[in-house]
Symmetry: C2
Subunit: 327 residues, 2 copies
């Protein structure tokens, strides 16, 4: 099934079920008022939401037409967003552009940081930024959402807690990153609010494309309407989502509705393109000694989408414009 949230209804939106084709929806508030409530009581709500989803997929005559701009983030806010960096080609290029090596430990100990989860932009909302000098970038990633995960869970058991899958535009302010990371405490100002995809889906919606706790499909990004990259999300992912969940839960339980991100999808095969400007700029630095592609300007747009093998959109497209804040 595919779940989303309307902007109406308060800080957590209003839970709706969307049909497979992403054309129609019905309210699910008799089952749970919000997606957060549904995931907190998943064993009870999931079968009922699934029944509603099947009805909707069979017959949309009583359903409403989907307007993507009316959607909030499926989780308008969450209690925890832990973002990994599981595609090592990305990490290798970052390091190579700096002239340094990837530590051996990075191949068996996931990189992951605590990201802001207090508010997600809607999938068609503008991204407000104070200044273009911040070095505005997108990052196209896959995310999963868990139910309650016990502390110190193993990777195998962690897999059973992955209930929903989606995409994220992990907005990054590149020029704020070096001074922030130099302080040693990780990202904060350099990682403002992100946007999730219009819908989150249960793993069964992906069919064979969900296996080994990875999504085996290309993640497509378009910058200002031009194809930017479509690297394979199932390739070069050093740590699968079960492993990432277990890493996140090593010293604490994860509460229902926790979002775990894959990090920027990146492949060793450079011909498939990248999932963020920083990556393209690093390839330019490696090739030519300096970057040619600028970061984003006010008015620039980004579109992030994943299609199934028959070219149907799975999660709907994230489509955002960069907007000057405070003008």
């Amino acid at each position: 099934m595919k779940l989303a949230s309307l902007k109406t209804g308060g800080r957590d939106g209003t839970l709706i079920v969307v049909n497979r084709e992403l054309t129609h929806w019905v309210e699910a508030t008799e089952i749970a008022a919000t997606l957060q409530q549904a995931i907190e009581n998943w064993s009870n709500s999931a079968p009922r939401l699934n029944a509603l989803s099947q009805q909707l997929n069979d017959d949309t005559s009583n359903a409403r037409r989907l307007d993507f701009t009316a959607l909030a983030s499926p989780l308008p806010r969450a209690y925890e967003f832990l973002d990994g960096s599981a595609y090592l080609p990305h990490v290798e290029r970052v390091r190579r552009a700096r002239g340094s090596e990837v530590p051996a430990s990075f191949y068996d100990d996931p990189l992951m940081y605590q990201a802001t989860s207090a508010g997600f932009l809607g999938p068609r909302d503008a991204v407000p930024v104070v200044s273009e000098e911040y070095g505005i970038d997108f990052e196209s990633e896959v995310v999963v959402v868990t139910d309650d995960v016990p502390m110190a869970v193993g990777a195998e058991a962690a897999a059973d807690h992955i209930q929903l899958i989606g995409l994220v535009n992990d907005v990054s302010l590149r020029n704020l990153i070096p001074p922030e990371l130099a302080k040693g405490f990780g990202f904060l100002q350099s990682k403002p609010r992100s946007a999730l995809s219009p819908v989150l889906v249960t793993p069964d919606e992906l069919g064979d494309a969900w296996r080994d706790n990875k999504v085996h499909l290309p993640l497509r990004s378009w910058l200002n309407g031009e194809r930017f990259g479509a690297p394979e999300a199932g390739v070069d992912m050093q740590f699968d989502f079960a492993r990432l969940v277990a890493h996140a839960a090593r010293t604490r339980p994860l509460s229902a509705g926790t979002i775990i991100g894959s990090g920027t999808v990146a492949n060793e095969d450079e011909s498939l393109g990248a999932s963020c400007l920083a990556e393209r700029r690093m390839l330019e630095i490696i090739a030519n000694g300096k970057p040619q592609t600028p970061f984003m300007s006010f008015g620039d747009t980004i579109r992030i989408e994943m299609l199934d093998t028959e070219s149907r959109s799975i999660f709907g497209a994230i489509e955002q414009v960069i907007e000057a804040y405070g003008d």
Copy 2:
């Protein structure tokens, strides 16, 4: 007024008002079911909660006796916890013990990291830890809670968004910190769930002790029943809470219920003692070349409390025992 949450009532507890002496309480659910709900609608709920608080302070005959063990964290979970490190003597000692200097920028750019907020331990709950080898430590800090804060707010305007004040035991797993920070993405496994004080209070409860957006009282810690330290929270705090809120909000709005921490309270005057074991161990390293005081073991207890000038507890005491997880 003083606000707390009972463990009963669901994941966000049940909102209660506690009297000034911390002996009695009344339910506040007719005003807001939970503290999270109250802070989301603060301009409406605060005056009504305040009226209830005045009634309770005048007459406890219809109130219930307070049992601290029945309390959840006042915010059992929150959408954002951003923890600063505003006491530079602490940072200076960490660096000195390592033989390095504090960068000049640290004196005008706050250190702050994104901490887990998905669940707080109750003020009398045990701290579950898998292994003593993790290097278990407490950190006694002051926190503030904001209502909705606009992005890019200045420090002066930020001050008006500080609605509640409390304490936190920011549990730290010291032996996990060096490898985690070496990866460059900040704290995650090394900073598990923390515990807030039994009650959060409005700034007026502190009287003159709340000024310049700082709390001007000693923060007292006892380890296994012995006085450990009582540094002055109003002294050597390089960045006041308004400044910390503004730092947190530079590139994103803060949503209602955001918790901002001061970092370990530490003074240049070593005679007042410390607010964490790491600090004492650093002083030992600086004095003797190696630490003598061990980190915490299973069964060890920590008590954190702040008293007013007449020795009355303001926030109630955080009292926790370290417990082996999974036994």
